[in-house]
Subunit: 208 residues, 2 copies
Amino acid sequence: MDNNISKQVISRLPRYLRYLGSLKDKNIERISSRELSGIMNVTASQIRQDLNQFGGFGQQGYGYNVEKLYDEISKIIGVDHIHNCIIIGAGNLGKAVAGYTEFERRGFIVQALFDNNENKIGNAVRGIKIYGMDSISDFIAQNDIDIAILTVPSAAAKDIAEKVASEGISAIWNFTNTDLDIDAECVVENVHLLDSLMTLSYNIEKNG
Amino acid sequence: MDNNISKQVISRLPRYLRYLGSLKDKNIERISSRELSGIMNVTASQIRQDLNQFGGFGQQGYGYNVEKLYDEISKIIGVDHIHNCIIIGAGNLGKAVAGYTEFERRGFIVQALFDNNENKIGNAVRGIKIYGMDSISDFIAQNDIDIAILTVPSAAAKDIAEKVASEGISAIWNFTNTDLDIDAECVVENVHLLDSLMTLSYNIEKNG
């Protein structure tokens, strides 16, 4: 596998997986790059180019085997195995994320929430327990946690991120407004909801 | 202005605005494409190319005037004026979105939430009132609402989206798991949190 896959291709992989997953659910066995192109809103040649970078799972005149392609992309994305997650911040957003069963179906299992609000500690969201912030370190060490989902107020983001990164977390999924740039051992994905809202706004202007 | 701006450039505009906004907050008056490149993690020549598409606000040897560039991109994105929004679905996610003061600062003003849970109707989130679903149509008509933020269960998404689109909403910001594809008069932006989580997962694999 080519290690220099372009960012643009990578950004399309989750969408490929999403569409292939829905084809699998419908028991569709194979699909041509042309059909996939119609669903994905990307040209057929672009799709062939993208998938060739991963070894080219297609066959001339046959197209792609949906399940095989799904499995291969799952491996590349790393969703062919479980990721244990914790949510730090049990406010509305933290609880909303804990409520997404879709993440669980893809192997992202939320094992606990953490908050410093005494009234929340001991409660549960969809059966997932809320603990005090002071027990994060022990929980990470004892439960093979690799992803921390950050839904705390922005002001607290940097300190908490550095703390969990130093404790061996592999990745931080950051919902706060603070762009995190911590050491290279820990991967950070910043969720910028405002960027999505601005894209919407741009399209309103263009449409108007 | 060129109407055929590529999707990739458009996807960078909110980031440009975000960074320029933080420069403005620090009273920085001008910036070179090289400096902007360092912050944005995009090559300087890419930045010049991007901004040239909108008329090229830079001057050789001077760089870009931060405020002017910020204002121009604001106009292009359409955040130089107010957008009145409603949130449909006052669950954890709806309440979390209502709580983001960041959206308000960019002119996206949430005027009301709607839910069909009798226990929620009449309550408020950050002073924003929760109404019953049966009053959506009147509220849209009377309050110049242009964006509906959809945070209902996925099963309800399509019907509600079609209803508000037919009532003259300009855009739907869709947090549900259902890809919406409604008529061309109404813009839809789907928020795919799972795609972001899968990108994170990909980067863990690559890092590992």
